[in-house]
Point group: D3
Chain length 135, copies 6
């Protein structure tokens, strides 16, 4: 079992975060620098370094769970935007993301499914992925 | 028991949606066309065609329940805006809508009651219904 | 404008609470006597005396809003049980209550609609109101 | 485009529901028979027949999204119990389910992650799947 | 036990509200004047006059509870903004507020902790309190 | 900056957890041993070792925030029970805990305030602390 310093853990987490979330994730951490650098540290060191990087669930699968959670929580549109991008980065297709949000209507109701879908529309628009093929 | 095609169900739902929610509801469905046409289909076919149109509860009563739900869920201001308009369309008075939101403070607390009330203020302002008579 | 003492307000609220919620509501207040009598006071004096009793919305309509809120909040089954009883007390029919909960599935999803419906099943069972006529 | 009766849609949904959720899902529908048969109808016809059965997302993936949503919503332990069983039925391993719930701690916090994990413990215990391999 | 009129109670509440929340709180009440003056009345008379002013918990402690609640509820950023200001007004330091929000990540997850922290960043920026000392 | 192994971090966290939450907290960790030992590890190592133990906010103050969050989240009664005990352990009085829950009614509504207060009643009863002095 390896000993790590606080800085080791942060750097390990930031490498995972950058791979998954890209620049959008890095911007969240850097925007915390003047208000709560510790929160930025923990997002990277714990959220990504300790949990996300565990081998027991593929990144693609983690994103499906995350989309479900952020849709259900409500009011987390900024985080959902980061994670729709992350979902594309780790190999979910636009069709799968949109289908997951349609699926969410059954468990969370239409309002939250709509809010999530409009976040996906924003991200897909920015990445030139519209229109998404319907049925 | 009549057999219906998918398209029959959609058209039946859209007629209900248009009657209740008006153009604001139609805009939600059309704004889904390039991202999740299936979600738009289901909002109309299921939400309005299968559920809202049932005779067991008057539209006015459905809107009271809906205002309660959207206020309690939080983060559903866009949907609440559609449904404040819908509530006026089906016969609830501005006074009743505002009173329902005051009532919500007892069960959901002031923050959510305030968020809902400011949505009503926006809608009533657009429809020339301000000021609402206080006590 | 009449001046009232704290006790006046409490008694006025308890009369409304007893009319609407019956013994179930009184039990909530009395069960608070040894832990938070002030919370019991405020439920009666403010919730019922100041808000529920206002004339701007009929008790039946308040219950529709309340069912919507308690279904959407989740985890409020004890309060929903009191309010399903209250809904019957103020004139909502079992069919309307069940229809409101079906309607909630569109906005809150099936899990919360199911939780609410099983609370109604418990209350209706205790009051000899099962089966409720379906379609 | 095929025309279907209400009964056709229900039967098609029940076949999907039985395949995914097994007897636990059928029990939910039958327990609604005396209180809200329409809710049971819609869970089957819409939730499973119209949405779950769509080919755009594999059942295993739908369950990952669903576990995320039910964990995040909170207060939906009965539904989570059905869906932990369903997740096993469609091929998620106990290790993946538990990992998804650990992952949820990052986005929903420990209390909801704990509630979900104890539901998994109950289901896995009933199915002889304890202990789950840790690290 | 003193008798009070409705107006007495409102004025007593407004004095507490003004002391704690300052102009931001007064603006909430005045912005309700044309839509729901009764809600503004109750925020002041009940929320501040009856509850906040009770001696059993110091204003600083009430703000810690309030920050926890508003962070957990989600979607209450406007109210959180008022209460971050209020927290500073009653003596919590920027460091304590930020630490409370970091603490919230354990119980509510990172997305809500981030949303709250960015509200604090806005308020602290307006009051010239950035950067907050990190580790 | 000291280097720590995974085991070091866990042991450091367990010492904090045991001091704050006592046996109730240890039981949560041990009850995870056969289902998700990693979740138990993270509750201790991260929740208590990394976050709770930080000097920026006193344990008493962390408990006020935590009571606020758990009351607002809803459906977290088991965790609230642990934290009402923890709150007493770190020096909050029964009167302060009950007052914090009364305060929560303003922001979360009565149902969640009632659920939290009945958890406090259970804990205080077990510890021989009833009745709590009212006003």
């Amino acid at each position: 079992m390896t000993a790590e310093t606080r800085q080791d853990r942060f750097e390990r987490g930031m490498r995972v975060l950058s791979t998954i979330d890209g620049e959008a994730g890095e911007r969240v951490v850097s925007s915390l620098a003047d208000i709560s650098p510790e929160l930025g540290h923990q997002v990277a060191a714990w959220g990504f370094g300790d949990i996300y990087s565990r081998p027991g669930l593929a990144p693609r699968d983690r994103q499906l769970v995350t989309i479900g959670m952020l849709t259900a929580l409500g009011g987390c549109e900024p985080q959902l935007e980061v994670h729709v991008n992350a979902s594309l980065n780790v190999g979910l297709t636009p069709e799968e993301i949109v289908e997951a949000m349609l699926h969410s209507a059954v468990y969370c109701g239409f309002p939250k499914a709509l809010n999530a879908t409009f976040v996906a529309k924003k991200v897909f628009g920015e990445r030139g992925l519209l229109p998404v093929g319907g049925r």
